[in-house]
């Protein structure tokens, strides 16, 4: 209760209005794409974003004296239109994308420029909750699937397994495995990019270089982790049969993927920190 009292009424009222808009959206999403494999990361991003914003509330301070920013109203109108069209016509991309846009507008209106300086990261972070436009998915998925199949073939044949590939179909021993859309790793890539940014924001490294290098390297890391996952699924099928490869071990391989990727990410960050420390030491000497 004390925490709630400390929220300025203007923030509370704006937030209540936002809930009127987005509770129906979230209800709809939870019954559709959020419960699918492809966009299951949506609610996670939302919760992390909300937590980030909440953890910054202390830095907001009294904002009644700050003027609203000039871009707040145009942005509000844009977000409002996106929401009305997206929600009523069920264009989920518009519906969800309206959330960060409206949030940014409300922050500009209520908190002015100082409010935006405190809250910009959680707002930008929410962009990861927006479902990808189908045009984008279609364009990216096929090449990614081919690349994953190619890398898995290379990895397994390098390890001496009897593996052959035709397009996105892998033949491992007596089994044929189709690298499905979900295996392309587009969703994994976005989830990991989001988690990586979240982690970097928590660690708060001052170094721009370290942050940029990390953000870029998340892409090859998630690709590598995905190749490892598909290769492991192939091996599970090879040793234990089709049933095992499609059963609970399928989910297990998914978990493993995240652990591998997060492990690589943390290891990389540690390495970067060491390199920087060494360079700083050299500079001092």
């Amino acid at each position: 209760m004390i925490a709630l009292r400390s929220i300025h009424p203007a923030w509370a009222l704006a937030f209540a209005g936002l809930l009127c808009l987005f509770l129906p959206s979230f209800w709809h999403l939870s019954r559709t794409i959020w419960s699918s494999d492809q966009y299951g990361h949506g609610p996670i991003v939302l919760v992390l974003g909300a937590w980030l914003a909440w953890s910054r509330r202390g830095a907001l301070g009294p904002q009644a004296s700050e003027p609203s920013t000039w871009w707040a109203w145009p942005l509000f109108v844009l977000g409002w239109l996106m929401y009305v069209v997206g929600r009523s016509q069920n264009v989920v991309q518009f519906d969800v994308a309206a959330l960060p846009v409206l949030l940014a507008a409300l922050i500009g209106l209520v908190g002015g420029a100082p409010g935006w300086r405190v809250l910009w990261f959680p707002v930008v972070f929410l962009v990861f909750a927006v479902p990808f436009p189908p045009v984008f998915v279609d364009a990216i998925t096929q090449p990614m699937k081919s690349a994953v199949s190619w890398a898995v073939e290379g990895l397994l044949s390098g390890l001496g397994y009897p593996v052959a590939r035709s397009g996105v179909i892998l033949q491992v021993g007596p089994y044929q495995l189709l690298v499905a859309d979900a295996c392309a790793g587009l969703q994994t890539l976005f989830t990991l990019e989001a988690l990586g940014l979240f982690y970097m924001n928590l660690v708060r490294s001052k170094s721009v270089l370290r942050n940029v290098v990390m953000a870029i390297l998340i892409v090859p890391i998630s690709f590598t982790a995905n190749v490892v996952r598909v290769a492991i699924l192939c091996l599970i099928t090879f040793y234990l049969g089709d049933e095992a490869g499609q059963g609970f071990l399928h989910g297990f391989a998914g978990m493993l993927l995240f652990m591998v990727a997060l492990g690589l990410l943390l290891g990389l960050d540690w390495l970067l920190a060491r390199v920087e420390a060494a360079r700083a030491l050299k500079g001092a000497a």
Partner: protein, 237 residues
């Protein structure tokens, strides 16, 4: 702090929150409810057994599935209310007919286009051309339907495909166009039905394609011409 003081302190959020409540109400009001689709039809009963010289064949020629995933994954939903696949034969050749009908399309439940579902099943598209499929008599009195001729290959299998996609009252050339049509109609409160009409033929050589497309076009003309009115209204507008 009493309620009045609280509201005064929240002055800055008055207009935004009022507009947001109005936006929520407007979105509900603009949700399309007018069903423009036909009363349910039974495709299997309505599609004729003969189309011109073409006779229905009982055999089981392998048809490319209508599923966009090709991996048996149903998570993007089976968008169709009714599908029909039938093989017709004449003079030793076969035409494969596939129909897929959806009564109420939505952004995430709309007709999959062959440009998407053929590659998903391992086909490579060698050629794709937007054409006016000639001679097809439409309900509006116009003749000819905007459709596509496509040549697809999967290892040894070469397939000439002629199709059109009807989204409500218009024929759409891409998924994006279909989506925009759904929004355009939806903002006026109307839902749109949709159908994929696809005829295809196996050929041995890409050089045979022009002739195959001509045969497919003629088959589709015949199909529409000989269809009972209820079926014709599903196929074309």
């Amino acid at each position: 702090m009493n309620a009045r003081a609280w509201l005064m302190a929240a002055r800055r959020a008055w207009w935004p929150s009022l507009l947001m409540v109005a936006g929520a109400a407007l979105a509900v009001a603009l949700t399309p409810r007018i069903d423009q689709s036909e009363p349910p039809v039974d495709l299997a009963a309505l599609v004729p057994q003969t189309v011109g010289a073409w006779q229905v064949q009982p055999g089981n020629v392998l048809l490319a599935s209508l599923d966009a995933n090709g991996d048996g994954d149903k998570s993007t939903e089976q968008p169709y209310d009714q599908t029909l696949m039938r093989t017709f034969g004449a003079e030793g050749r076969s035409v494969m007919l596939a129909l897929a009908y959806t009564r109420v399309q939505a952004q995430e439940v709309k007709t999959h286009r062959p440009e998407v579902c053929y590659p998903a099943q391992g086909f490579r598209i060698l050629q794709r051309q937007g054409v006016l499929i000639p001679g097809v008599a439409r309900g509006t009195g116009a003749v000819g339907v905007p459709g596509v001729h496509m040549l697809a290959q999967q290892r040894g299998r070469l397939e000439a495909v002629a199709f059109w996609v009807r989204t409500g009252g218009t024929f759409t050339d891409s998924g994006l166009q279909a989506r925009m049509e759904l929004v355009r109609e939806g903002l006026q409160g109307r839902t749109s039905d949709g159908v994929l009409v696809r005829a295809s033929m196996l050929i041995n050589d890409p050089a045979e394609a022009p002739q195959a497309f001509e045969q497919l076009d003629r088959f589709l003309q015949g199909l529409v011409a000989e269809a009972p009115p209820a079926l014709r209204h599903v196929l074309v507008r």
